[in-house]
C-alpha cells in the first residue's frame, strides 16, 4: 500500500489512507526525502489520521523521516494523531520528541506557513501566491 504524496504549492502532503506495513513506512520515508529535493519543497505534512496503530516502529520511522527532511533543509509536521493513539504511544514511552506535531491538516499548514516563512523570510507582508 503506497502512500499518495500530493504536492501543494511549497509543501508535500502524505496522507496515510490505511494501515501500513513496516516496509510501506520505510518507503514513505525515503520517497519524501527524495521528493522534497525534486520539488524543492519547504515543508512536509504527514497525515496519520487514518493510521490504526502508532507502534514503536512507526514512531521511530516518522522521527527518522522528520530528521532526514530537516537535514534536507525542510520542515516536517505530523498531523492527526488521534487521542487513543496518543495514549497508546505515551504508554509505550514514544513521545516523538523533537518532531513537530499539529492537530490536523489545517493546523499543520498554518504551522508550516509560519515556520517556513520565518526561515526564508520572504513575502511576510505580501500575500503568498
Amino acid at each position: 500500500m503506497e502512500v499518495p504524496i500530493l504536492k501543494q504549492s511549497h509543501y508535500l502532503i502524505a496522507s496515510i489512507q490505511a494501515a501500513l506495513t513496516d516496509a510501506d513506512l520505510l518507503q514513505l520515508r525515503d520517497a519524501l526525502a527524495e521528493k522534497v529535493g525534486r520539488f524543492r519543497s519547504r515543508g512536509v505534512i504527514v497525515d496519520v489520521t487514518a493510521l490504526d496503530v502508532m507502534d514503536s516502529f512507526a514512531s521511530r520511522t516518522l522521527r527518522d523521516l522528520a530528521h532526514m527532511i530537516r537535514l534536507r533543509g525542510a520542515e516536517t509536521v505530523i498531523v492527526g494523531i488521534q487521542p487513543e493513539v496518543a495514549l497508546a504511544m505515551v504508554q509505550l514511552g514514544l513521545t516523538l520528541e523533537g518532531v513537530a506535531t499539529a492537530l490536523d491538516l489545517e493546523e499543520g499548514l498554518a504551522f508550516l506557513n509560519e515556520k517556513t516563512q520565518r526561515h526564508l523570510g520572504i513575502e511576510t507582508n505580501s500575500p503568498r501566491k
Partner: protein, 148 residues
Amino acid sequence: MITAMNTETTVPINSDADIVVARQKSRELAVHLGFSPTDSTLIATAISELARNIVLYAKHGEIIVGAVQNASRYGIVVVARDKGPGIPNIEQAMQGGYSTSRSLGLGLPGVKRLMDQFDIVSSLGAGTTVTVRKWRDAERSYVLPTVS
C-alpha cells in the same frame, strides 16, 4: 481462574504484513467483546509490538487472540508464541532500553503497561511465549453473546 474461549483466532506471523493482520484481528475481537475504542487501540498496539518481535527475533510464529472470562470479568487474551532463539535475560529485556536490534527496547515493558496482565516464558533455543490479558471494566453491563 476459569477461562473459556469461543472466539479464538490464530494469525500466523511470518512477515511484516502479518503484523498488520494480527493487530487488525485483535482490534476486531476487542471491539466485538465490548472494549472501548481507546482500549481496542491499546490492545492493537500491544499486539503490533509482540508480532514485530516475532518477525524480528524469531522470524516465524503465531498470535492467538481469544476471549477470556473468569468469575467476575470478561476480557481478551492474546498469546504470541514462537520457536525462535528465546530471550537470554528476561529481567533485562523487561527493564526497557535493552535491545538486541536497531530498536529502542521499549516494546516488552510497553506492552506490559498497555495490558492488564503480562506473562512471558522463554527458553534459549526453544522459543518465547508471551501471554497478555486485558479486562473489560467490570461495571459495564455488556454480556458476551455465547461464552460457554
